[in-house]
Assembly symmetry: C2
Homo-oligomer: 202 residues x 2
DNA sequence: CTCTGTGAAATTTTTCACAGCG
DNA sequence: CGCTGTGAAAAATTTCACAGAG
């Protein structure tokens, strides 16, 4: 597959694809393109996806349950090894194959199962406390879904997914839409809309 | 509050805060700083958050239910006005205050309730089809949680939240962590770790 | 001939640094 | 004085464009 095709699929410039891939090394063949399975392997290796990263989910409300059931994790090599909650009513219950354990046992759980990544799906109010507990237990990466800013010490990675922020960004574009409702004949070649775009290609 | 303080809270450079805010106009007071509530109002206005953007959620598996129950949406002015699924067993059920309706009624639902934003929480396999249906119905912004790349016509905004991608990014940093497990005396000033950081400040 | 890999150019983003307002 | 607003500089990112490998 050529950089041109990859670029089309990703919605970016072909030169960017080539430049980015060049940082991995020279895995393309001039005049031909890239071997996709080779690329997949190389990228997986570079991203550390060939290793097994045990994941613990803290907080088993609706979002935590959704994440626990999310099949996309296993598919990409992330193994959920623990579900932890503070609510005594939830502890002892289970989601899928896994039992819900008490956050008081976090230290032992992280140590025993080598938890590398902690996912926070708790209410905002306890997010920082949970983060601190995870860090103290030795977890090196945190993915925070709680609508709260949390801080971590140097050396710990932190990412935040804020669902409301995503909607706010859409709202911005929605407000700046070329036409509030594009009342164009179905079948017309293409609406003349060309303005600020959140959209990628086509 | 000064740009310095705002920058500290956001984990960015103070000049960047000032430069960014300057695009809204001149809402600061020299020698003093910014009036936070004024900033909140101005930013809300610029982002279109003073308007009401009706949201429809398509797909009511675990993730869809979590999103439907997510209190952060209402708190920031997004009103969920419809829950839609293709599964006849789910249609007629409800989540919170809202009934689950059939995707076959999508056109009427979008038109009646002025749905502006569609949230896709379906399996990957039907994400493109659902996207097309939403766009045909007149929805101008799409937030895609399905682990699938979907395309939209020009003039429609699209954002994607990929949970597994977030983990992959963490995995990358985890793999490049300064020390696998920072075995530093608790109480030591600060671990000497200084390397590639996903972390913001402190 | 086609398509990669990559210097160099163009563009965008971020930071510096300071005039000047309150 | 202290802190904003902003030109100008610096840095980072993206794109161009083309030599040269296959």
């Amino acid at each position: 597959m050529s950089s041109e095709q990859l670029a089309e699929l990703a919605g970016v410039n072909a030169a960017k694809v080539r430049k980015d891939l060049s940082y991995l090394g020279s895995y393309g063949t001039r005049g031909v393109g890239y071997d996709v399975s080779e690329l997949v392997d190389e990228i997986a290796h570079e991203l550390g996806l060939t290793q097994d990263w045990p994941v613990a989910i803290v907080g088993l409300g609706n979002l935590g349950r959704a994440l626990a059931n999310y099949r996309g994790f296993g598919a990409r090599g992330f193994r959920i090894v623990a579900l932890v909650d503070a609510d005594p009513d939830k502890v002892g219950g289970s989601v899928g194959e896994l039992d819900i354990e008490s956050i008081d046992d976090l230290g032992a759980i992280v140590a025993d199962r080598n938890v590398a990544i902690g996912v926070i799906a708790t209410p905002a109010g306890v997010a920082q406390e949970v983060t601190d507990r995870l860090v103290d237990a030795g977890v090196g990466s945190i993915l925070n879904f709680a609508p709260a800013v949390v801080t971590v010490p140097d050396g710990v990675s932190l990412r935040k997914v804020d669902l409301a922020t995503e909607l706010q960004i859409l709202s911005f574009y929605q407000q700046h839409r070329p036409t509030p409702t594009p009342l164009v004949d179905a079948g017309a070649p293409t609406p003349p809309a060309t303005a600020v775009q959140a959209t990628r290609r086509r």
